[in-house]
């Protein structure tokens, strides 16, 4: 009896000890990277991240080792980070969302530098600014771009025409060249049609203007520059829309936004190419009345993702062959037909899949607007802490929008909050 009790306790101790060891090795920061086996090539992406026909074709094209694809729902980055910390089950190939790439660049040691497996030969096929997003300051490339999110101006042709504004896409492009032109059109529209407010949400617009610049909140040498003119200009542009009273205060994706698009109270939206899907699914009666024009004051990018190879990959060369194949211009054009995944390789823009006219946009060819936009998106350095530092600017801009603070007071408060956050993250 005594013996068995001791054995039992010993067993418990062993289990407990094993658990502790397991946990502590998990907390180790990647020093214990266990190579995956060569029998399978595991690949992770989020739902809708890759075109279905492209995926099926790629799996058939590479029978050895067999590609095992897993669709990971929910908070993708969180699950990837947790798996990295766990140390087991790390995929060979993983998707990385555009909004997460900046914060993963400091972790470049967990990914294969694609240049070391021969990426130099294909990097030139992709939009340069997009490749730059996945390039570390010392020149490592950790991801090959899947797609990009160039912005355009979506507008209701019928409502523009009724208000005496130009309605033909070419004429809209001619007249609405800058934000001032756009706002002037908004004032004219409101005079004729008081319910139609040109700016769906001025705080959303702020992000567009920041995205049009070549600098963001933190400079390459890790200095806070969010209090400088380029941010203040975006701030003032957004505030101007509010003071002109053409701000609809309706965040995109909200129920009011969905209803407003169809009812004509939200006659325009400026957003990435993928917003077309949202608008299409939101409206019932206004299909065919929508048109596309270039973004006033130039394009910006929203969204767009990457495929990366982790250091755990047993055969990085093979993994690279797979992603190179998947993201060829031909396959990117197919993915666009599959799920509106907007290609990151400019050669795809000339493929018939993208040259198709879109009935929803009255027979307009969307690529004529988004293609040139994608090629001329300004390059801005995005720090890993960019999003955290940007948050106070959004928060404070909302207080100006509701009239509870003046623009100057809100600006001062946003800058001081952002500085505190930046300082905490080690930004000078």
């Amino acid at each position: 009896m005594e013996l068995s009790r001791r054995t039992l306790l010993g067993g418990f101790a062993a289990v407990a000890g094993g658990t502790l060891v397991g946990c502590s090795s998990g907390m180790d920061t990647g020093s214990t990277t266990k190579k995956n086996t060569t029998t399978e090539l595991t690949m992770w992406c989020w739902p809708g991240g890759l075109g279905k026909s492209v995926l099926d074709d790629t799996i058939a094209h590479f029978p050895d080792p067999k590609i095992k694809y897993s669709e990971i729902g929910g908070d993708f980055k969180q699950k990837l980070v947790t798996t990295f910390n766990g140390g087991t089950g790390i995929p060979d190939i993983t998707g990385i969302k555009g909004e997460d790439i900046a914060s993963l660049l400091p972790q470049a040691s967990r990914f294969v530098d694609l240049k070391s497996v021969g990426a130099d030969s294909v990097l030139g096929d992709y939009l340069e600014w997009k490749v730059n997003q996945a390039t570390t300051l010392d020149g490592k490339v950790i991801g090959l771009p899947i797609d990009v999110g160039p912005t355009g101006l979506f507008y209701r042709e019928d409502i523009f025409a009724a208000a005496g504004l130009p309605s033909d896409p070419a004429k809209v492009a001619d007249q609405l060249k800058t934000w001032d032109d756009y706002f002037a059109a908004g004032v004219q529209l409101k005079a004729k049609n008081p319910k139609a407010l040109l700016v769906w949400d001025a705080t959303d617009l702020y992000d567009m203007v920041v995205g049009q610049g070549t600098e963001r909140y933190i400079s390459k040498d890790n200095k806070f520059i969010g209090d400088q003119d380029h941010i203040r200009k975006a701030w003032d542009t957004s505030v101007k829309a509010m003071t002109l009273k053409i701000d609809g205060k309706t965040p995109s994706g909200s129920p009011d936004w969905n209803a407003g698009l169809d009812q004509g109270t939200i006659p325009t939206h400026i957003g990435a190419a993928w917003v077309a899907l949202d608008i299409k699914s939101a409206v019932k009666t206004s299909a065919g009345k929508w048109r596309l024009a270039p973004t006033p004051s130039g394009p910006a990018n929203f969204g767009g993702s990457f495929l990366a190879i982790t250091k755990n990959a047993a055969d990085p060369q093979k993994a690279f062959d797979v992603i190179k194949y998947m993201l060829s211009a031909d396959n990117e054009a197919k993915a666009f037909t599959d799920a509106q995944i907007f290609p990151s390789a400019p050669a795809a823009y000339d493929k018939p899949e993208l040259k198709a006219a879109d009935k929803f946009f009255g027979g307009q060819v969307p690529i004529d607007v988004f293609g040139p936009a994608a090629k001329s998106i300004p390059v801005a350095y995005q720090s890993p802490y960019d999003d955290s530092v940007a948050a106070p600017f959004h928060d404070e801009l909302k207080t100006v929008q509701t009239g509870s603070k003046t623009s100057d007071a809100a600006w001062a408060s946003a800058v001081s909050k952002a500085k505190a956050i930046a300082k905490r993250q080690g930004v000078q």
Partner: protein, 314 residues
Amino acid sequence: MTSTATVSAAATEPLAGRGQRPRRGIWSYWRFYLALSPFYVLFAVFGLYPMVSTIVLAFQRWDGLSARRFTGLDNFAFLIQDPTFWTALENTVVLFFMSTVPTLVLALLLAVMLQSAVRFTNVYRIAYFIPNVTSLVAMAIFFSSIFSTNFGLVNAALRSLGIPQQDWLGQPWGIKIAISTMIVWQWVGYNTLIYLAGLQAIPKDQYEAAKVDGAGAVRTFFSITLPQLRPVVLFTVIMSTIGGLQTFTEPQVMVGNSGGTGQSGMTVVLFFYRAAFLDNDYGYAAAIALSIFVLVLLFTAINWRIFRGRGEDR
């Protein structure tokens, strides 16, 4: 009596025979500990370990992937001077009062009404409980369309009454009303059922005695029902405190991660979520989590003192 004596005699005899042991060692109960162990093992893995590591993490800097760095009280120092934390704290407390008080009052009224209802009592019980088991995210989306400015149900009702429409999810107070309405809607049924169980435990003869003495319904409620329900009320208040101070899903789905206009929907847990999963500042998030723990402890202690009552105070 005799059987007990026999058993205890039989149990002590062999021990006495062996002589020296005054009582049975703790290890001789190993079968019982083994039977209980699944709970403790699960608790250690899923409860204790995360708790301890959160406390450790609160004294470190960690971005989720790189090496952890011990920074002492840095996280707490930053927490105290972070204006967003104080906004979140204030919002949480305000939302707690705006949702808990109406919830419990409504639940008590409903429970008393249900107690006296004769027909379809079970139907009502199920109906009241349904909100509690409905998916919170789905309901938050539903409520945000009810409260939306131009095409929402609430504003449609206001317009038909000739009252100007309100920008519910764009105004600081509107956000709080919308969030607390949803919390009330969700938790009234749950608390009603608990009160109903409490009501059924009150002896019928007390009510009969009150009736004989000529007490009316109101007098009976305040002199018999409410005092007898005191322990149940304490339970619901503490449960609501713990739940209410952890409000997260409702504001996150209704006004987003920023907490909406002027951060008026930013609760402490939402702030925690933002620090950990959006800013990748896990150490700071752990410090915020500890502040929630302290807050819950504080409020529970206050409620305990208020609702415990004089009878059990000794």
